[in-house]
Structures are given as C-alpha cells and as structure tokens.
Symmetry: C2
C-alpha cells in the first residue's frame, strides 16, 4: 500500500461516525448491512450517511453492491490488512528499536517462515 492510500484509509477511519460505521460492518460480517440499516443503527440523516460512506468507499475500506432496491455495504478486510501492513512497516522498518512490533504479514500471510522478532 502506498502512502497516499494509507492516508485515505487513515482519514476514512479518523472520524467518529465513520469508525462506528466500519465497526458495524465488521460486526455484520459477510452479509454486510444495507445503507438504510446503517441509517437506523446510527441515526444519521441520509445525506450525512451517504457522505461518510462515500469517504469510506473511496478509501477502499467499504465495498457495496446493489441488491434490488437496497445497497448492501461490506467492510473490506483486505484493505484493512493492507493498512495494518503499511502501519506495521512504517512502525518497525529500519529500527531494531521498534521492539514489540512484528510484521503483521507474518501473522497474516499463508507463509510464516522467518520470524524476525529480535529479542532485545
């Protein structure tokens, strides 16, 4: 993930309502939630909700799909993983000082060969 994409993701999550929306979608799981359900759950007016969803979508944190009359939203876990990867690399890279921060990819990806966690 590039820096500019990470900024978009961070920005998307760095707002109370949007973080809340994302958490709701994570809790909703694969099925996701319709925009209307999100409106009910949050109490946000339609226009406000749409704006926040737009920012989450543009950042790639949320995907959506029209199902008949409703639009179903889902959390995009891949993008969250990419963000975590970015932060982890930018937290740890180049320093042995970054003690407690092991590469997320080591946990995340299928392979987990070289665990480089340096024991201080």
């Amino acid at each position: 993930m590039k820096s500019i994409d990470a900024l978009a993701c961070l920005n998307a999550l760095a707002q109370e309502h949007r973080l809340n929306l994302y958490r709701l979608l994570v809790q909703a799981g694969d099925e996701g939630m319709a925009v209307g359900e999100l409106a009910d759950a949050t109490g946000l007016p339609g226009a406000t909700l749409t704006n926040h969803l737009h920012i989450l979508r543009r950042a790639g944190m949320v995907s959506d799909e029209r199902q008949g009359r409703v639009i179903q939203c889902r959390a995009n876990y891949e993008q969250m993983n990419a963000l975590l990867g970015f932060l982890t690399e930018n937290c740890c890279a180049g320093t042995s000082a970054a003690v407690a921060c092991a590469p997320v990819s080591a946990c995340v990806s299928p392979r987990r060969k070289s665990r480089k966690a340096p024991s201080p």
Copy 2:
C-alpha cells in the same frame, strides 16, 4: 485502547505532514530527532511544525524530552502497537469472515501461546 484514543491516533496519522513526521521519527530510532532537525527535514515553518507535533503528542504517538536547548522527539511504539491492536480487534472481532487478519497481539506481545489463526 479506547475508541476515543484510537480516533486521536488515527487523526494524528491521517495527515500528510504528520504521517511523514512520524515515519521520520521511526527511521531515526531510539535517538529520535530534534524539532529543528524535523524542521530541516520537512521544510515546514516552525509554527506549523509545532502544531503538527502537538497533535501527535496529544495522541500519544510521539513523546519528547528537552535536552539542553533542543527538544528531542521520539516515536512512541507502544501507542502504535495499541492502535494496531485496536484496529485488529475491530477488524476481526466477532467474525470468522475476517480471513487474513490475525491478532497483532499474537505477534506483538511477549507471549504467543494461543495462535488462533483459523485456517480457512
């Protein structure tokens, strides 16, 4: 980490200059960088730099210490880990659908007893 603290951290990092500042501090390692060095590295005017540093400090992402005439800044890795933990929990909690997202804490913390990574 509480939601409100995560918001502060996300907000602190969700800005081009501040993310850049944080990365510089991570690269600088334990020694950190003086405010003046950060000013040189980024080209930001003093007042602007101070404001950004203030936001990073308030979020706990950066700590600082006066050393004589200069103020030395350092990245606070613990806070970054706490943020990663928060995001991981809020990315994965309650869903088996969150495939690729293993608990960062399993990689991060000293103990790594129960690796719950569910093989899909």
